[in-house]
């Protein structure tokens, strides 16, 4: 499915450029969601349906909704858009584009090497993913579990507030 791959790659790149150049944070987040969806299609075209589904469920469906939630709560108005506009002057593009050109040059050199091979294509089923997660990489899974537990404990501590005496109508 090379055609699917190229179409979704182009969409992902365009959407990511839009993320950087938008002034309104909500619009930028929306383009980021489009970019994630395009990346999910790329995964699918490379034969990784499980990774594609997780990309949509976790990144596009949960994390981005939380980002949007926080952005809406902050209620950033015209002020932030103006600030963004000030930050996005042409001269700030010089540094990043130099670095990006270096990366592009490296990639072109790699692609032009004579011993280039075709992209390997093999469908990875959810069963294979879980076998390697809970077999080969069990230590990594457990370490990530520890890290998340720490995060939850920290969040619970920060979120804890003093006990208040509520009116009897407001008590649950």
């Amino acid at each position: 499915m090379p055609l699917l791959f190229y179409i979704s790659s182009v969409i992902a790149i365009l959407a990511t450029i839009m993320v950087i150049t938008r002034y309104s944070p909500v619009h930028a987040l929306l383009y980021l969601v489009v970019s994630f969806l395009a990346i999910a299609v790329i995964f699918l075209s490379l034969g990784a349906p499980f990774a594609a589904a997780l990309e949509v469920i976790i990144y596009a469906g949960a994390i981005m909704v939380l980002f949007l939630f926080v952005t809406m709560m902050l209620n950033l108005g015209k002020q932030t858009a103006l600030q963004e506009k000030e930050w996005l002057q042409p001269k700030v593009w010089i540094g990043p584009s130099l670095m990006a050109f270096a990366l592009l040059a490296e990639m072109i050199i790699l692609l032009l090497r004579p011993e280039s091979v075709a992209m390997p294509f093999a469908v990875v089923t959810p069963r294979q993913v879980s076998m390697s997660l809970y077999g080969e990489y069990i230590i990594a899974v457990e370490l990530v579990g520890f890290l998340m537990m720490t995060g939850i404990v920290g969040a619970a501590h920060i979120g804890k507030h003093k006990k208040k005496n509520l009116h009897r109508f407001l008590q649950t």
Binding site: P49, I57, G61, V65, L68, F69, P126
Partner: protein, 318 residues
Amino acid sequence: MTVMQHIWIVLGVLFVFLNIAAGLIWVERRLLALWQDRLGPNRAGPLGLFIVLADTLKLFFKEDWIPPFADKLVFIVAPAIVVASVLMGLAVIPFAPGIVVADLNVGLLFFLAMSSLGAYSIVLGGWASNNKYSLLGALRGASQMIAYEVFMGLSLMGVVMLSGSFNLTTIVTAQQHVWFVVTQPVGFIIFFIAGIAETHRLPFDIPEAESELIAGFHAEYSGMKFGMFFIGEYLGISLISAMTVTMFFGGWLGPGFLPPVVWFFLKTFVFIALFILLRASLPRPRYDQLLGYGWKILLPLVLVNLLVTGAIALWLRS
């Protein structure tokens, strides 16, 4: 299967479900009336069935007004997202042996992904309206849908453990001898509760809560854009009912005197009626009660359910 057959299946699913969604306008009003000891719409056409036509025509011919203070593009896109995501979710449901739009090996995950994308519709619709009540509704919708997505996914994992697959056709055929509602009763109850919260139907219609927030996230919408939210909600009910039947009630399986498709739709209609009965009988909880109930009761319960299911599955296999 030939390409033409695929196209016919896609068109058939679209036709049937869009008609069910429209027909639910009448079904819901008649059933509500029945349970509240009234008659409901009974004048236009036989049994009042033409109320569907009248309602649709009304929605089409109303002024489609975009408020000048709204974020125009996002305002227009938001109602389309809910309909599109629900219709995509319908693509993986097997209606009968061979009648399925896309028999994916990650079908269940695809359904969960599409239902999580539906949250954007509420969030964006409420934000783009640039209205305090809409924004409140959108904030409530976002937190409610994120919270209940977690239990929705986890409650289905017990079924995945027992059937050993994410593919919905395999899950249905694994219920040949006993339906998963018998072996996974807790999973079924939590999935159904999470499904009500996902479609933000009463009693969990907190994002729109007309008595507190006017109409919540769609307060500024009119005409067919409001109609899209409306149809999206009914499609969501049908999708969750169809999913409940597929996961827990044996999908198309049933005694042989009726064809499989008929069994599937009969079972689905029972759950649609249950959705409407819940609307007719339960009061709306307060916002913090809903979230507290989710995180403090349902989440531990679903984790315990997973633990017990896993232990039993291991014990049976050894």
